[in-house]
Symmetry: C2
Subunit: 342 residues, 2 copies
């Protein structure tokens, strides 16, 4: 482990003396610096990378906030187990292990499927009329997330991304975004999986009504906000992020839903969680760019994707690996005998 007091200077010196013009690797240089800083070393490495994909159902889906029926959550979980979804394809491409965790799908999966069975409930309640979760359910979901990360840390995983599946969960994320950032609710709502303009207007009305019906305001406690409007998968991811930070792992931040979970994690555990976060992409879901502005960050990719599942993490992963690789494997001006700048 590097002497902490000079680590930053030494990292920057190592980056600056590689055989390239100063700063010429752009975003990769900042990533290399961040990863070296988190791992407290001049020779960082990515070990046993995982994506944890948490699935849960949402009572609000009954209100028609998504063009897809609630059954799709379970159907997509089955699709994950058979390797047919986008995240399966991309995780396999990059040798990222994928773990699917049922933290609250409204369906009884056969016990022998390659799913971690950790239901905190069978779908949340409809937050148009009542809290989505009880406080016990909410804490259980957080524990599920923390527990999953703890196990991976024991297996030397030091870089982790999170994905989600849950029909209706952009509605949940929009509510959390509003309550944790103070951005007007209407600016937090978007097309989700593909609503048309009429659908988006309707979704906005329903969510405004839900807010009005609830006792929750921006001043409420974070657990109150989370249990009223969150989802099992969002709570689990927030817990998982906190644990990943405590275990000093690199945390790959995906899109709109996952970033709403980060708002929760930061509210609970503090802004230092962000030190370990690598923002992988800007989603096509319109509120995501505003969340990223709230954090003051610019992600690696901007490919107009809005799929969730952790697909942004998987696609950006090789670029994170490239940042580590150039830091470890490129020659320096001195070692290569290349003349430096005059």
């Amino acid at each position: 482990m590097q002497n902490f007091s000079t680590l930053g200077i030494d990292l920057q010196h190592k980056i600056d003396t590689k055989t390239k013009p100063l700063g010429a690797l752009g975003v990769l240089e900042g990533l290399a610096y961040q990863i070296g800083t988190v791992q407290k070393t001049l020779t960082p490495s990515l070990q046993n990378p995982h994506i944890l994909l948490f699935a849960g159902d949402h009572g609000i889906a009954k209100e028609g906030v998504s063009p897809y029926p609630q059954e799709v959550t379970a159907q997509m979980v089955l699709n994950f187990t058979r390797g047919g979804a986008a995240i399966n394809v991309f995780a396999k491409q990059h040798n990222i292990a994928l773990q699917v965790i049922d933290v609250g799908v409204n369906y009884d999966f056969p016990a022998d499927l390659p799913i971690v069975h950790e239901k905190a409930g069978k779908g949340t309640a409809n937050f148009l009329h009542q809290p989505a979760m009880t406080l016990d359910q909410c804490k259980e979901a957080i524990w599920v997330g923390k527990s999953a990360v703890r196990k991976l840390h024991e297996h030397h995983c030091n870089v982790i991304g999170f994905g989600e599946m849950g029909i209706g969960n952009t509605s949940s994320a929009s509510m959390l975004m509003h309550l944790f950032t103070g951005i007007p609710l209407e600016d937090c709502v978007g097309k989700g999986t593909g609503l048309d303009d009429t659908g988006v207007s309707r979704k906005k009305e329903i969510l405004q009504q839900a807010l009005k019906n609830s006792p929750i305001t921006s001043e409420a406690d974070h657990y109150e906000k989370l249990k009223y409007f969150g989802g099992f998968e969002v709570a689990a991811i927030a817990g998982a992020m906190i644990r990943a930070y405590e275990d000093n792992m690199l945390i790959l931040i995906d899109g709109f839903i996952v970033t709403s979970a980060l708002l929760v994690a930061v509210s609970i555990h503090g802004r230092q969680v962000l030190d370990n976060c690598i923002f992988t992409h800007t989603s096509g879901e319109q509120g995501h760019a505003k969340m990223l502005d709230f954090f003051g960050v610019k992600p690696i990719l901007n490919l107009g994707m809005r799929l969730g599942e952790g697909t942004g993490c998987a696609l950006a992963y090789p670029i994170v690996q490239s940042a580590v690789n150039f830091l470890n494997d490129m020659a320096s001006f001195e070692s290569a005998g290349v003349s430096s700048k005059s």
Copy 2:
């Protein structure tokens, strides 16, 4: 091979029925469509990927247009042969074969180095006072590029990127950009490998003077422009692109210098060359975004990189592969038994 008349419809249908919301893979969907269209198949593949890195020296380097001395071109070529440069690291990471071609470095490399020795000259002449190349040299460099691609095509390579190394070559690219796009010369000039503001002003003055001293205008023939202001590596890349298009390969377009070669290739061979081009990144060199606007394209990555060598191609390659993979390997709504949108 797919029936050409329905290929576009069939490709779009295949993309749209994958288990994801319509359009949710953003840029990847357009890439999959393009690659399927180029390869005329619903099941495209990337085979034997290569990056050809052409190196050449520039007489204009004598005028102090770069903060690095001309010797760095040869030193970096030696660095490539030892695996110490950024492109070595990134090409290795993605199993992309890297071929280094000396098409005009002002240095005699030992014959046994892993370099293709195809000098069309030992550095160009200084275009401040005279044409950079003779017409014979220019045509020879084009031939070197075409010939290198032809050989790879015989080895079933169907996707190719180009890199370059040549101290002073942003000056050459700026001149070509001005002459082939009509954009005012001062808007085509940038920091290159890292000039400060005074250096950029001086570079602009030198290039304005070079233009004044020359008989070349926007109306000149493309070979006249290329031989007067081009470089051996730029001419070789232009030729290589034309041949890659003729062999129906996918062409990965890197940064400022490589895109200036594409301006030449399109001028010589026509805009259809663009059908096979995948724009991999927007360079931090300020003129590059304007070149991309000229072509009306938006690249995959925007990481503030300005290194050349084909590093943008290498970093974007896994995303191009992801586009192919999702098209081939994801389940459809029907095959996965997932309910589609209501």
